[in-house]
Symmetry: C3
Subunit: 226 residues, 3 copies
């Protein structure tokens, strides 16, 4: 995947792991899409967007051909993930706290995969942080927008954007000081815990000073309507 | 267009045909945009998105500079198509079955153009199928989303996604077994017929088992609102 | 920024100017996002999209790695701009005519930056005009769509699309006849004046013949709902 630029083979997650994380993200995306009454192919389309969209945009922003196009396992893996997510959506979405935990871990790995690839290709530190966030967020944004919703990341709700920014920043800083593996552990822990705890404790998104409080559920479609 | 990668000149549709197909797609997109009361420049913007968006995204996903940017005829052709579509929108949209047939043929050719270019650039088979679908669908998705609608492809409605997936899969398989021209014929026929018949017979999108039936017209903006 | 392709150093705006223009655009975008009750990180996300999205898409359409990724100053500058815009949004949006003037000047420079880079990389004239418009418009489109609104550029409203098309066309034509600096001046003047005057005089978007007139404010979310 990063053949021309990786300085050390040990410093990248194996490609099968990359594929598995994207398939799980596609699974979660398909479950959400199906809960919005999306038909069969629209749901699989959402799985592709959620699972592969972030990595594709990251690669295009690095001036590369997206790995998910040039390596065949990504698309079938995400389609299988999407199928599972659509068929079991009731179970996947049943307990919000479980969903938040699994999503948090998945997003944590996506953040590390994205930021690491950017560092491999000599992107500046601040760009690597942004590309970690992009890798973990763009897929969901594309799926939200395509199905007619405001992006979750831009709405009042529980912490997603905060978790991604904290996780990506932590990954890049720790990887410069302590190396790759400690950075992976720290970034995944931070991202997953912030996502999970904000859901369980019902923490709202950070608001600007003076902004009236709003319930997390009011944001999206309501904002789109008013 | 595919100078560095095409193995055989006979195996690509001529560039003027490519341009013509995209102009027709821009015409159809402008007609739909105008029926949504989009002002003049917004309508032409929609024509550009619908006509050129799919091919541009396909080329970026292949790591190439989009053909529609490096070759000048695409943009003026699509703008002329968009102008015609906007001025004659009443006639273009008058009979849904005619619209579905013309759109189906156009999408069928876009699928073959997209999948063939991906194969020319040695993309894996599954990626070529996806890029055929991308070439024919992304333009409409961008225009829907930009004008505040959920993407047609992700909604309850008549068969578009199904037609594109079937057409693109057929193109890639037939082109490996029987060569380019039979594949073009089969893919265009399948895409156009599925699109047309689903409209005329009022077939709804494939639903997940246990999903309540919905009229095709209820999906889009309604889903976005509730 | 255009090291491999620029034929003459004098013919490009300096990179710090490029960065400053994008930071101001991010500031305006964050002010609008905050007025739509977007939480903290969503607002900064909007600043990144509005400030950098147009240039990133332009660079990807030229087959280049986006300048805002490979050069570190862009992202922090836009984040600082976004922070200022979010905190002072009341003041930024207080007088619509002032907002329109500042936005018009910013968009005028973005048009020239975008079209000039396209010309530097030997894009055809019509593609350079389109890429000028893309550079100045895509950021706002992405932010609108992500926050659940129809794109301003595709709605009934005051002149934005018209101003961008006129400014970009003027830049490319004047730069071919009279050189770079006169083209910058003409393009910025045309874009800013059309944007400003259309706001002050309350000119609606150009409508297709026979289209019923609509107040500028009715377009967006209303169109998305009906």
């Amino acid at each position: 995947m990063a053949a021309t630029a990786a300085t050390s083979v040990a410093q990248t997650l194996p490609i099968w792991f990359d594929v598995a994380v994207m398939a799980v993200n596609g699974l979660l995306g398909a479950a959400v899409a199906r809960s919005r009454s999306t038909p069969v192919f629209g749901t699989l389309f959402a799985a592709i967007l959620v699972g592969l969209g972030g990595g594709m945009v990251r690669d295009m922003l690095l001036g590369l051909e997206p790995a998910a196009i040039s390596n065949w396992p990504y698309i079938p893996a995400v389609l299988i993930g999407g199928l599972v997510g659509a068929l079991l959506f009731g179970r996947v979405l049943k307990r919000q706290s479980h969903f938040a935990l699994i999503q948090g871990i998945t997003l944590g790995f996506l953040v590390t995969i994205g930021a690491q690839k950017a560092l491999d290709y000599q992107a500046p530190v601040i760009s690597a942080i942004l590309l970690g966030v992009v890798t973990a967020s763009v897929g969901g944004v594309l799926a939200d927008v395509t199905t007619g919703y405001a992006a979750t990341i831009a709405r009042q709700g529980h912490w997603i954007a905060t978790a991604l920014v904290a996780g990506s920043t932590a990954f890049v800083l720790v990887s410069m000081w302590l190396g790759f593996w400690p950075a992976v552990i720290v970034a995944v822990l931070i991202t997953a815990l912030l996502r999970f705890i904000s859901q369980v404790r019902d923490w709202p998104s950070a608001r600007w000073p003076g902004e009236p409080a709003r319930g997390p559920e009011e944001g999206g479609a309501a904002a789109a309507r008013g």
